[in-house]
Symmetry: C2
Subunit: 308 residues, 2 copies
């Protein structure tokens, strides 16, 4: 059983979509990553920060899945990070209505002693200096460091972002962000340029259009499972990353061939995440459902052309 | 060796893209479909119409690949269909600059006697009544009738389009057209509704995002091969359809499993088509190149997760 260290927000989300509206519910990159990773046989811990408004039942969601939360700081007089967004009818674009950083604003992550030797480190979308601070606390170089980021950090803290991605193995970003970071429209060229910045592996997430994994001259692609209905895309990218990281940590095999499997597992879990609001579907998700849908992924993508 | 009957335009195209500009060059759905299908061991014929301005060398491109052109009418005092378009920087959208229907305006297709028993009929994008007229000329029901169409016919001749698609087996349209025809945003639901209109198989083309094949509750997906550069997308959809139809005709096997292979072959050929202007790349394309890229498709999509 491999050790996985997750760094990412625990948050309140309030979501509007064509299907309805939620109050403040459990959200945050760290939450979605943790829930996805917990579907694998892995020793996972989350490093994060919350305010004293973060309810015990939300901690229980994590600890109930054997996720270590000893690295979650509770700021006594602080409030938990809050995000609110509204999805448009096509579910592919959204407006952010509210972002209250609160305690996340001066988050100073402390890696618990017994996770300083984690096999895999998954750095959720956060200030790049926060991400770098976690890398610097590791006792030895992890087998694999995965980093997720977004356009906000490219716009506002590019030097810090470039500093941290020099030290990582895998970057996960969406197609527009890959184009922004590289200045290349072609995703093949974009991945090549980004790889030169540090990460040997570049994962480009294309939402409903699937995900690409680039490594040297190799490319692997996983589609998103075509669904009757996408209910709420919030957390799908983090769930994908959590499944990817969790599978790799659990198998302790970071070969390109095994990363292909990890991409499929991540895509598979993400296809559940979007079926209900927030973390709801990930909380009820059973192993049998996961396995059944892996069969669908196989049917969706595997063919049998005899090649010479 | 199966017989494939292709109905589609032979045309002059003039193309502008960020990479340059062409004079009037060989184009047309029938041309692209024929060139793609000719990569397989198939007895193919094109039914079409041109003016007396259509040069012998363009006919030679087709006959040199054993494509029967006895069903191509040459209108003595007419001009050949002419299309001109300009691609935007992202290559995903284009403006039509000129459409001169010319002889295609009152095209009355005559199926040659010895192709009235074709195994597969590929109806390229044309007026739906023209497409229906071809079906009505067949001596017996072909094993498979494939139809390509576009939003123009949905906007202007919807009753005629609905009339013809009742008689076909496979429809190929792009995602926006599938949404328009069905009134459903979800492609899963769209395919279901379209299937109720007639075709048992629905192929939804998503350009650079690949293609989906729907049949009852089964879905298969083929990505577009990620390319460093898309030079000219003209004819990619027709090349995809031609590869799909040509492979099915050559194997005379219309099982869903074999259709998966056909989708891959179509996607493979389309990935070459976009590498040069017009038909240029398809004219020089060699079997070794095709086989090599099929290996890339396999590496791109095949994984090895053990399932129970």
């Amino acid at each position: 059983m491999g050790k996985l260290l997750i760094v990412g927000s625990l948050a309140f989300d309030a979501i509007e979509s064509p299907f309805g509206k939620t109050d403040k519910i459990l959200g945050g990159a760290g939450t979605f990553i943790g829930l996805a990773a917990s579907k694998f046989h892995v020793d996972a811990a989350i490093v994060s920060v919350v305010g004293n408004d973060f309810p015990q039942e939300y901690f229980d969601v994590l600890t109930g899945r054997n996720i270590d939360i000893s690295g979650v700081e509770i700021v006594k007089d602080g409030k938990t990070f809050f995000w609110s967004g509204k999805y448009h009818n096509d579910m592919n674009s959204r407006d952010t209505l509210v972002t209250e950083l609160n305690t996340l604003g001066d988050f100073n992550p402390i890696v618990p002693q017994n996770y300083k030797d984690a096999d895999v480190v998954m750095l959720g979308n956060l200030h790049p200096s926060t991400q770098l601070s976690v890398i610097n606390q590791m006792k030895e170089r992890p087998k694999l460091i995965i980093l997720d980021t977004m356009n906000f950090w490219m716009d506002n803290t590019l030097p810090e972002l470039l500093a941290v991605i020099r030290h990582i193995d895998v970057i996960t970003i969406n197609d527009e962000e890959a184009r922004q970071l590289s200045g290349e429209y072609s995703l093949v060229k974009a991945a090549e340029k980004i790889s030169e910045m540090g990460p040997e592996y570049v994962v480009i997430k294309k939402g409903e259009h699937g995900a690409l994994l680039f490594h040297e001259k190799n490319i692997f692609f996983a589609p998103a499972l075509p669904l009757e209905e996408v209910f709420d895309p919030t957390g799908a990218g983090d769930t994908f990353a959590g499944g990817f990281a969790g599978y790799l940590a659990s198998t302790r095999n970071i070969s390109f061939e095994n990363m292909k499997n990890a991409i499929i597992h991540g895509s598979n879990l993400a296809s559940f995440c979007v079926e209900k609001f927030g973390t709801e579907r990930m909380q009820t998700l059973q192993k049998e459902e996961i396995d059944k849908r892996l069969h669908q992924f196989k049917a969706l993508t595997q063919f049998n052309i005899e090649l010479q």
